[in-house]
Symmetry: C2
Subunit: 349 residues, 2 copies
């Protein structure tokens, strides 16, 4: 099914607003079907029935121009890992057992997971800073689905979810930010503290703590019960521009005060990517992060930002193996990754 | 006077025997003039007189086809530093005060220091493993000088020198070895222990201890009194080939057992040299060392070994400033060095 999707997808195209710093805007809604137990207590036959009927209903709900549905039991572990790397399904859904599926819009802007933690997890993922467009899109999808699926809803609590932390709106808004200058100048901790005060959470690209791979940080809401969807959205949409400004100011200061030092950092990273013969995915992310900033600041002009974004994705373990058409062990991957990056950069020169 | 010398000189040409591992063979003889006090006790007018008359006698002794003589007080500190970087004069002679000089054969194979620690320090410096050619050359020079200068000589002790550690033959033979594989595999300590047992000494490129800059090590005799010149020469000339063999075996093992790992190391070093915007001379030496091994092992074929050798010399602080025609502070040098290396490598591609 992976080959039915766009090779890179919309969110990594780097075309959205503020995309020098904001990689993507993501909204997800947790929904459950009335009359069925939550997945923690569901019986196998009910689970199968849900997977099948929800798959069918999503398919005809008209939520996107084109939609690909896959029962994940009929996909390979490698395909599922690719979907995780594209942020289209969760790690939990990839590794779970039992009947479960995902419906995907080919550019990856919409994915609807079936039988993840909740019966339905609707996700909209858009390039750059697009809270309103993402919200508009996911609201429409949610309304269309509700026409065909009766949601578990309490007038008092709102949408009912398997885990109480999602009850109410069932909504999580998150923005993926690229903050290399704040990391470089050790000011990222300030963002952590400030964000916590407005009840937002910060995590790394793949959920790590303070040192995020590739200097990518996800800012998301922690509270789902109480504020309305619009209020949750506004909290993030109003706060993130302050972080963007902070990162931009630090980049400008770095350029003004130590342009050569910054160029050195950026170009050394480029040199490593060009020349290494063995490279881990973590190291690749770190160097690509520096290069990404370099391209966005005009310090490197020989490659387009789209190529950098593409490398972020295609050098991840599952995509690398997908490109090779076979499984590779870690040393093989490190060698293969180095070769792939080297050729790609050489082809752009 | 620097511009009267060959730009690189013979010893860095990389053309001598075993020059993948042996950079150079050096012999120096310490000599003093009979009837004059050693320099520790000499009076200023005697010192001046010595400098003048020795300069004149060396000039007419017929010790080389062409010879350039300089009174070092008439050179700039930068010129003297360049001579140190070429290993043509000692650091002590460069920074000393008082009348002192040096006679140089333009390719740097012969240098005769006047009023260093001894009245005369004759040095022959040849590319690669050339103990016999170097010995032949320096013996001839020594004989020619002795025709015009009466040496301080004791039938019992041999040549008399300012410091007792040089008495007897006044001879030090040293070979500069490039041992990156032994350093990489942490086997260099074995060389240290083995060499000490045969009364040879090991030092770094510029006299450092166990971690030598650029993985260059000088092996030299410690004893000057007792054994004859020929015996001293043979001790080194017989021992060094064992170290050469050791280094070659380790390189071969590295290639056979982990070729990609070795290529990775070598090419990353190359990438850093190609792309850095700021680079210290120490870092440059380290990367050039890896690249030198890579070229000698055929892992890198886009640059000749002569270009690598040239970079070793021309990226040193004094040569860099000489190239620029002006003094540069450390940050300027680091930037300038990176630019020079980058352009040089790009010109070879």
């Amino acid at each position: 099914m992976i080959d039915e999707l766009d090779p890179i997808g919309e969110w990594l195209s780097g075309t959205g607003p503020e995309s020098d710093i904001v990689i993507s805007t993501r909204i997800r809604l947790a929904r459950n079907v009335a009359g069925y137990p939550f997945l923690t207590r569901i019986k196998e036959d009910q689970r199968s029935h849900l997977e099948r009927t929800l798959g069918e209903r999503i398919a005809v709900a008209g939520v996107a121009d084109r939609l690909i549905y896959a029962n994940l039991n009929k996909t390979t572990p490698l395909e599922r890992e690719c979907l995780v790397e594209r942020h289209l399904i969760s790690k939990d859904l990839a590794s779970a057992r039992g009947e479960r599926g995902v419906a995907l819009e080919p550019r990856g802007t919409l994915s609807i997971m079936v039988n993840e933690e909740d019966h339905l997890r609707i996700q909209v993922l858009r390039s750059g800073f697009q809270p309103d467009a993402a919200w508009e899109q996911i609201s429409a999808v949610d309304r269309r689905l509700e026409e065909r699926v009766e949601y578990a809803f309490s007038p008092r609590f709102g949408y009912l979810t398997s885990c109480p932390t999602n009850v109410g709106t069932g909504m999580r808004v998150s923005m993926m930010l690229h903050l290399p200058a704040l990391v470089m100048t050790k000011q990222i901790e300030k963002v952590f503290h400030a964000v916590a005060k407005v009840s937002l959470a910060v995590r790394g690209f793949y959920g790590e703590g303070t040192h995020a791979l590739g200097d990518f940080y996800q800012i998301s809401n922690q509270v789902t019960l109480g504020p309305s969807e619009e209020q949750i959205l506004r909290t993030i949409a109003d706060y993130v521009p302050q972080i963007i400004k902070f990162e931009r100011n630090v980049r400008e200061t770095l350029i003004n005060e130590n342009r050569v030092g910054l160029e050195d950092r950026v170009w050394r990273a480029f040199g490593m990517l060009e020349r290494a013969r063995l490279i881990t995915s973590e190291e690749t992310l770190d160097y690509l992060s520096a290069v990404r900033m370099g391209v966005n600041l005009g310090l490197i002009d020989r490659i387009p930002i789209s190529a950098v974004n593409e490398l972020f994705l295609l050098t991840q373990p599952a995509h690398l193996q997908q490109l090779n058409g076979r499984e590779l062990d870690t040393p093989e991957r490190d060698e293969n990754r180095a070769e792939y990056v080297r050729r790609r950069l050489a082809s752009l020169n």
